[in-house]
């Protein structure tokens, strides 16, 4: 970072641009506080331990996110188990091994572009590929595979950035000592890039856990009485549960939608802890 402290230090926040900047920053912060406040206030009546276990119900007061939470946990685990190794492996291959052929360049640019494609497109593709093509039906597995297709390009793009940030001197020095390519990758490049790789994977997974549109396209259910016990059980997840409740005008469902949002954000926060633990470690080491 070459941000000079000199350009900042000693200059108080003055002048119209400074004032407008403060105002813009306040708007940004207010938006987050408002969002969090509304969710917590609205959800306070429903949030108890039963809410996290109960299935959704016709009677708003008895409804819970049990099945949806279990579904989201299944999805997270399966997507993490497939997309992370696949994406990291792809990024390492592309950055460290791949010959600069036309095919490799094409694969790279396709994956980069796929990272910018809206999630709903993955939903419709997953409907044709997994739900109907492979005959998986609207199951947890079909949902997980669709989210994997969405997550892999993100993991690849994030990890490529992490690998590119490793200075070439690391590689040259190791090669100069006679290390093989795999030794360079394993002992030099991966350890140096590890914090950014973990952060990149975490960001991609958080995106997948919060995605509602693709699961909606696959035909996720929001009214199931039992928690999914295997990947072949009907697809249900927190984001689609929120969607189902958010659009119901009846009294009581608003609170349920807020409660489910809090549950989703808690799940994401738990995943985020991995990232923060990792950040703290990074501060102690290089850079």
């Amino acid at each position: 970072m070459s941000e000079s402290r000199g350009a900042r230090a000693g200059v108080a926040i003055r002048g119209p641009i400074g004032a407008m900047g403060v105002a813009a920053a306040l708007v940004t912060m207010a938006a987050l506080i408002l969002l969090a406040g509304v969710l917590l206030v609205e959800a306070r009546e429903v949030l108890d331990w039963r809410f996290f276990l109960n299935p959704p119900s016709r009677v708003a007061a008895e409804g819970g996110v049990g099945p949806a939470l279990a579904g989201s946990l299944w999805l997270t685990l399966i997507v993490a188990a497939i997309a992370v190794p696949l994406g990291v492996g792809t990024a390492v291959y592309l950055a460290e091994y791949a010959p600069p052929t036309r095919l490799v360049k094409a694969v790279e640019s396709v994956l980069t572009n796929l990272a910018g494609v809206p999630s709903v497109v993955y939903g419709i593709a997953g409907l044709a590929l997994f739900v109907r093509g492979l005959g998986l039906g609207p199951s947890i597995l079909a949902g997980a595979l669709t989210l994997t297709a969405l997550t892999v390009p993100l993991v690849v793009v994030n990890c490529r950035k992490a690998l590119q940030a490793v200075p070439d001197e690391f590689r040259w020095a190791a090669f100069g000592l006679g290390a093989s390519r795999w030794q360079v990758v394993r002992d030099q490049v991966l350890p140096a890039a590890a914090p950014d790789i973990v952060a990149g994977c975490c960001a991609a997974l958080l995106r997948a856990v919060g995605a509602a549109a693709p699961l909606l396209m696959l035909g996720a259910v929001s009214f199931t009485t039992f928690a999914p016990g295997s990947p072949h059980d009907p697809l249900t997840a927190l984001p689609t549960q929120i969607f189902a409740w958010a659009a119901r005008p009846q009294e009581g469902f608003l609170a349920l939608a807020a409660g489910a949002s809090v549950a989703l954000l808690l799940l994401m926060a738990a995943m985020h802890l991995v990232l923060f633990a990792n950040r703290r470690r990074r501060k102690g080491t290089l850079t």
Partner: protein
């Protein structure tokens, strides 16, 4: 690892590690490529099948979109107009706030403030779209209606506002990156010449980063184009084409979300229409993403370090 061990391993290119590296990583890359290709191919194939039933001229030239009507209309233009309306509105709202926040972060905020603001922006980036949608429908819309009673329950204004909030982090983080490419010396020289800080920022620094900032805006607009849940929840899905932001808006994405709520039989014309709409969405966002990326890369050319000798 000692140097001897290193060189011993280097002499043996068939060691298990070497083979693992080459083959397993290659298989990963191949699988990723196949997965990505499968997504593209299935959308393309179903779109071509749809064009066998409905001519591309009718699809791109028609002015009504009503796949289920007795006299079905398959003109995608109304949907694209709705998408443009939401994306333009959201970008228009997010740009000033986002750019000013980025300028504030880069040139005004001190360590503590900057790190808090950074955390807030990052948190906003991680809020799931469906949560934003819930917020838009149940809080933003009633708030707008209490001020302006003529607004309908499902309306484009609420969608624009909240999609704008969703793309705000993209604009802030990417614009800050673009501003980071402007050498600090520019600011220092400007101030040394006697210009006020405001003048230097407005006349020198922001114009110098303009290409990169434009890139960040295009990237953010691409996200707005693809946004599904907020627009579906907040703007609903009226059947007719609407130009009035006070009423509901129908976009490429809301059509897909709404269609998924009914059961679409495989091979039906509506099933094909979903893929054709998805293909339009795909090409649109890919194009914008690529253009935004190219602009951002151009904006990074003057980065300090590249210039400094």
């Amino acid at each position: 690892m000692t140097a001897t061990a290193l060189s011993r391993a280097a002499r043996n290119p068939r060691s298990p590690g070497e083979r693992f590296g080459k083959h397993v990583l290659f298989i990963c890359a191949a699988l990723s490529a196949v997965l990505g290709a499968a997504v593209i191919v299935v959308v393309a194939l179903e779109t071509f099948r749809f064009f066998g039933q409905v001519s591309p001229a009718r699809f791109f030239g028609g002015l009504t979109w009503a796949p289920l009507a007795e006299e079905p209309g398959f003109g995608v233009l109304p949907l694209m107009a709705g998408t443009a309306q939401i994306a333009a509105g959201a970008t228009f709202l997010a740009l000033p706030v986002g750019l000013l926040t980025a300028v504030f972060l880069r040139y005004y905020a001190g360590g503590r403030t900057a790190s808090i603001l950074n955390a807030v922006v990052t948190l906003l980036a991680f809020v799931p779209a469906v949560v934003y949608g819930y917020f838009a429908l149940n809080y933003v819309t009633p708030a707008i209606r209490s001020v302006w009673p003529g607004v309908e329950g499902f309306n484009g204004i609420s969608a624009c506002l909240v999609v704008g909030l969703m793309i705000l982090p993209t604009i802030v983080l990417l614009s800050r990156e673009a501003l980071g490419a402007v050498p600090n010396s520019l600011l220092e020289e400007g101030v040394a010449l006697g210009a006020t800080r405001r003048r230097v920022l407005v006349r020198l620094v922001v114009p110098a980063a303009a290409i990169g900032i434009a890139g960040s805006v295009v990237m953010a607009a691409a996200r707005a184009v693809g946004e599904t849940m907020i627009v579906t929840l907040a703007a609903g899905n009226p059947t007719g084409p609407t130009w009035n932001p006070v009423e509901g808006v129908r976009t490429l994405t809301t059509f897909l979300a709404q269609a998924s709520l009914g059961d679409i039989p495989t091979g039906s014309i509506e099933y094909g229409a979903c893929f054709a709409v998805a293909a339009v969405l795909f090409l649109l966002t890919c194009g914008m993403h690529a253009a935004g990326g190219a602009l951002m890369a151009r904006g990074q050319r003057g980065k300090p370090g590249a210039v400094r000798s």
